[in-house]
Structure formats: structure tokens, C-alpha cells
């Protein structure tokens, strides 16, 4: 039988991811990276990778370990490997960041750490992909949301391999015309595969299932879902073509990139319209806070994608930076924070109260949170995102630091809410004395004595 148990390591992934988010926002608030430094400066790359690997990739992998089995109705294979993956990714990330700092020649480190860290990251991501792919292949049928996740995982592998090649070039291990071409054209591809192919497609896939589950709405199986999926597949295919063109000829392939852009816009448009329809067909009349937060995040996807299109068209660097900020911290980060506000209480509720269900009155999942206390932090986070993007676009360093500080404050406020949910701190008095679960590692469930 297909069943979904609590993934033991998911909360550990989430915790590390949240720490990375707070560090990244803290660095931005301290004036580290763009716009103080250049868009490709090592210090900017530190912040960017802290966000994309530390925060977003760990968050997404933690979520996939829990929800891929739900998506396809199969248990996760090799349940002992997730902590190994997490360890590899954390070590790899720390070394990578040290490598970037070495390039900045501030710390007396050797730049060779950069490709070395990249190699460890590569092994971690490959292992994660192996677990998730093998689980996916055991499904009897692949619903479209799982198809998105599959495209996302392929992109993840391409991103990491391309990143490792770039790291080798930056560390001076690879030279020649290829290295020049790679630095000139490969960074954009690396970012497109990472933010677009990996994180955005996986987020789309997971959100299709989570949104319908949390809203109690029928799953989307219509034309729009298919248009979103196949446009995304075409965009990714064209991007792979552009990558091969770069490898083969050391030049970029404008036609492929244009095709990627058009197909990606189509995919994002179809996805947003489809999700709007999903919200309209929901049975739950009142929108819970996490679903309202998800609406804000999806608005950020529309805004970020439009801004990115315009930035690539006009070639304005600060517009590109602003669009990246909106896509990574507004869309993906905002969606992540909103989903965590449901996923953490839900997993905690399952862990603490499923064994008692039917025997005594148990609280509802909503009883584990206090929405009126959390709502202002979401508002602060998203408002600071908009203001921060504007400050980046206008290159007003001090305002950007201020908005980053406010965004950090919003994120800290939300982390406090997650911890409160985990600690059962907001439960009604009837359950105030219920034993608290461990903060990060849930206890394994034993078969009850019959």
C-alpha cells in the first residue's frame, strides 16, 4: 500500500535552510554584495549562493523528501541517505563560500577550495537526485506535477555541473577560449537552469499538489496544466540546446535563448492562470494565512518574470539584479515561508496527535498556529521585498540595507512562529500539557502494542 510517513530529516533541512536565509539577509543588511559590490563580484556570489543553495535548495529538497511520496503515492527509497545528502551539501556550501571569499583575496585562502566545495556539492546533489529519481521511477503513473519535479531535478543536475565547471574556471584550473566563453555566457545559463529550471519548476510541481491539498480543491488536470508543463519542457530543451551550442562553438545561441524566454513566459503565464483557477474552485471558503502568503509569492513570480523579461530586453543591470531578488526571495522564498507556515504545524500535528486520533478529542492543525500574530511578519517580509527590489533597481545602497534589515526582521518573526508551532506554544489550554516533540528530529513511530 502507498503511504506517506513523516520524513525524519525534513525539519533538519528546513532548519538549515532558514539559518541560511537569515545569514543571507543579514549580509545584505550589512551591505555585503550588490549593489556595494559588482553583480559578479565574489562577495555578491557569496550572498547569491547562500540564498540559492543554502536557503532555497535545502528547503526544496527537504520538502521533496516529504512530499514527493505524497505526490506519487510511493514511499521514499533509501531513507538512510537524506542526512548524508544534507551533510554533503552543508560542507560543500561552506567550502564554496570560502572559495568565493578566497577569490576576494581577503582571507588568505586558496581559490582551489572553490571547485573542491563545488565537487562536494555535486556529490550531494547527485545523491539527492538519485533518491528522488529512483522514487519517481517506482510510481505507476506520473501526474503532471511530478513531471515538473522531474524536469526540476534534471535542471538541478545541469546547474550543479555547470556551476562546478565555472568554479574550476574561476579557480584557474581550466583555461583557454572555452573558459572565456563560459564566463561570458555560462553564468546566465547557470542562473537560468538554477532559478528557472530547478527551483521554479520544482516549486510549481510541489505547489500544484500542496495548493489543491490545503485548499481542498480538485486537482488540475486540464489544458492549462499541460500548456504550463510542455512550455516549461520546451524552455528547458532550448536552454539545453544553448548550453550545447556554448560547449561546441564557444558562442551563445541567441535563437535558443529567445525560444527559452518565450516558452518560459508562456509556462509562467499558464501556471499562474491555472493556479488562480485552482483557488477559485476551492471548497475552503476562508483563505488561511499560508494560502494568502502563497498568493503574494505568486504575484512576485508574475512581477519578477516581467521584470526579468524587460531587464534582458533593455540590458539594464540593476533591473536584472532587482528581478533576481524578486524571483529568489519574493517568489521562491516567499512561497517557501508561506508553505512552511502550514507544513511545520501539519507535520507536528501528525507526529503529536495522529496516535491519539479517534481515541480522544484532538486539536485541528489550525490550532497549532496563531494567524493574527504571524500575519504582520508576512506583510513586513513581502513589503520589504518590494521596497528592496525598488532600492536595488535604483541602486540606493542605504535604502537597500534598510529594507534587507526589515526583511530579516520579518523572516525572524516567522521563524519564531515556526518554533512556537513546533513547541505547541499556541495550542488551546486543553492541550497545554501535551508532551512537546523534539524541535528538529521527530521521534520515529513504533507499531503500537496490540
Amino acid at each position: 500500500m502507498h503511504m506517506a510517513t513523516i520524513s525524519r530529516w525534513t525539519l533538519a533541512y528546513f532548519s538549515c535552510a532558514l539559518v541560511a536565509l537569515l545569514c543571507a539577509l543579514g549580509l545584505m543588511a550589512a551591505g555585503f554584495g550588490y549593489p556595494n559590490d559588482g553583480l559578479m563580484a565574489p562577495r555578491t556570489l557569496v550572498v547569491v549562493h547562500l540564498v540559492t543553495i543554502g536557503w532555497l535548495s535545502l528547503l526544496m529538497l527537504g520538502a521533496l523528501l516529504q512530499f514527493l511520496p505524497v505526490l506519487i503515492g510511493r514511499e521514499l527509497v533509501w531513507p538512510r541517505l537524506p542526512p548524508v545528502v544534507l551533510t554533503l551539501l552543508l560542507i560543500g556550501l561552506v567550502l564554496l563560500l570560502c572559495g568565493f571569499l578566497a577569490l576576494d583575496s581577503l582571507h588568505g585562502l586558496s581559490a582551489d577550495i572553490l571547485p573542491f566545495g563545488g565537487l562536494i556539492l555535486l556529490s550531494g546533489f547527485c545523491l539527492a537526485a538519485a533518491i528522488l529519481f529512483t522514487t519517481l521511477l517506482r510510481a505507476s503513473s506520473l501526474p503532471l506535477p511530478a513531471g515538473f519535479v522531474m524536469l526540476g531535478l534534471i535542471s538541478m543536475l545541469v546547474t550543479v555541473m555547470l556551476g562546478e565547471t565555472l568554479a574550476s574556471v574561476l579557480a584557474g584550473l581550466v583555461g583557454g577560449d572555452f573558459s572565456l566563453a563560459l564566463v561570458e555566457h555560462g553564468v546566465g545559463l547557470h542562473a537560468a537552469f538554477g532559478l528557472g529550471g530547478w527551483l521554479t519548476l520544482a516549486a510549481m510541481g510541489v505547489s500544484y499538489r500542496l495548493v489543491s491539498m490545503f485548499l481542498v480543491a480538485p486537482e488540475r488536470k486540464g489544458t492549462l496544466t499541460a500548456v504550463a508543463f510542455w512550455s516549461a519542457a520546451v524552455a528547458l530543451g532550448a536552454l539545453v540546446g544553448a548550453l550545447f551550442a556554448l560547449i561546441a562553438t564557444n558562442t551563445s545561441w541567441p535563437l535558443g535563448l529567445a525560444l527559452t524566454g518565450i516558452a518560459a513566459v508562456l509556462a509562467v503565464g499558464a501556471y499562474l492562470i491555472d493556479i488562480a483557477a485552482l483557488y477559485r474552485t476551492r471548497r475552503r471558503a476562508t483563505l488561511e494565512l499560508h494560502m494568502a502568503g502563497a498568493v503574494a509569492a505568486m504575484g512576485m513570480l508574475g512581477l519578477g518574470a516581467s521584470l526579468l523579461t524587460w531587464a534582458l530586453w533593455s540590458g539594464i543591470e540593476s533591473a536584472l539584479a532587482a528581478s533576481m531578488h524578486v524571483l529568489s526571495l519574493g517568489w521562491l522564498g516567499g512561497l517557501g515561508l508561506a508553505m512552511l507556515y502550514k507544513i511545520i504545524p501539519f507535520l507536528t500535528w501528525l507526529e503529536c496527535f495522529a496516535p491519539l486520533m479517534g481515541r480522544i478529542t484532538t486539536p485541528r492543525v489550525q490550532d497549532l498556529v496563531n494567524e493574527s500574530r504571524a500575519a504582520p511578519w508576512f506583510v513586513l517580509y513581502f513589503a520589504a521585498e518590494l521596497a528592496g527590489a525598488a532600492a536595488l533597481f535604483l541602486k540606493v545602497q542605504h535604502v537597500f540595507q534598510l529594507t534587507s534589515m526589515l526583511q530579516l526582521l520579518g523572516a525572524v518573526g516567522l521563524v519564531v512562529q515556526y518554533v512556537r508551532a513546533r513547541r505547541l506554544a499556541d495550542l488551546p489550554t486543553a492541550w497545554q500539557n501535551h508532551p512537546r516533540p523534539r524541535l528538529i528530529l521527530p521521534a520515529t513511530r513504533k507499531r503500537s502494542v496490540v
Partner: protein, 169 residues
């Protein structure tokens, strides 16, 4: 053969009520071999699955005013119940408890099913209809020693779940 028992649930439906309990009450009151003639304002598809599990075939006719008349006829039964084994759903007794969870918001189906199971003795079987596959329920069923079998109906819209209660813990 006894005449079919007639049950008109249209007044209940028009008042926005849920006729499932009334129907099950009528089914349980049927004499052996007796049919049930049901009047409803729509074609009650989910009910067909439930009744099939209880050993009834059906004949649905659309009436002139758009309502439906359904006659549930019991299948000829072989006597002599075999021993019920948890690992073999074919050997289970006919369901004696029914839950329609299709209109419930998660996690209410999980709570209702587990609560109902607490009141059942070992070997009794429950039939539940759900709007989606209850993937988070299964580990709990396993942990409590219940056996289950389930699948989606042909349209893929309702999940049919049979649970055989395990020993009382």
C-alpha cells in the same frame, strides 16, 4: 419474493440534508433477498459503489421530471462465510460500517475513520468513500494493527477504502 422497499430521499435532498444515514438504515432493515427502490434528485453514483460492496446490483432510471429512480437488487449469495484473514481482503466479511467522507475537509476523514475503528471489534469491516487517497492515514492504520485495501473509482474522483479492524488495543 417480497416487494421492494421504497425510500424517497428527495425531500431530504431538497432541504439540503444528507440522506446517506437514511439509506443505510433502510438497507439494514431489508429482509433477505429484498430489493430497495430509491428516489433521488440526481443519479447517486457514489452510492452504487457502497451498495456493490454490500452485494447489491442496481438499475437506474431517469424519471420524466428529471429525478432518478434506482432499484438495488441483492446479488444471489453463497452461504457459509469463510474465515476472515487480514492479509486477504477477499476473505473479509461484508462491510458493517459506512462512512462517506467525500464532503469532509482533511484531516476530518482521518479522524472520523480512526474514531469509527475504535468502536469496531476485530474482523469487522468498514467501507469509506474519500475525495483523495488518504496517504497519511495508512501509517496510522498500520501502527494500530488494522488491515486495509483501497483504490480509486473508474473516474479517479473518489477513493474507495475498506478497513478490517484489527485486535482491540
Amino acid at each position: 419474493m417480497t416487494d421492494a422497499f421504497e425510500l424517497d430521499v428527495r425531500p431530504i435532498l431538497r432541504n439540503g440534508g444528507e440522506p446517506f444515514g437514511a439509506i443505510m438504515g433502510a438497507v439494514n432493515a431489508l429482509a433477505p433477498g429484498q430489493s430497495l427502490k430509491l428516489f433521488a434528485t440526481f443519479r447517486p453514483d457514489p452510492l452504487f459503489t457502497v451498495m456493490a460492496a454490500k452485494g447489491f446490483g442496481y438499475e437506474a432510471t431517469r424519471l420524466d421530471d428529471g429525478d432518478w429512480e434506482v432499484v438495488f437488487v441483492p446479488n444471489a449469495q453463497s452461504e457459509g462465510a469463510p474465515t476472515s484473514r487480514p492479509e486477504d481482503p477477499d476473505s473479509w466479511a461484508d462491510p458493517s460500517h459506512y462512512l462517506d467522507c467525500t464532503e469532509m475537509d482533511p484531516p476530518e476523514p482521518m479522524v472520523q475513520i480512526l474514531a469509527k475503528l475504535e468502536s469496531m471489534s476485530e474482523g469487522e469491516v468498514m467501507f469509506a468513500l474519500l475525495g483523495r487517497e488518504p496517504v497519511f492515514l495508512f501509517p496510522e492504520l498500520q501502527a494500530r494493527g488494522h488491515a486495509w485495501a483501497g483504490d480509486f473509482d473508474a473516474e479517479g474522483t473518489a477513493y474507495r477504502l475498506m478497513v478490517r479492524a484489527g485486535p482491540r488495543s
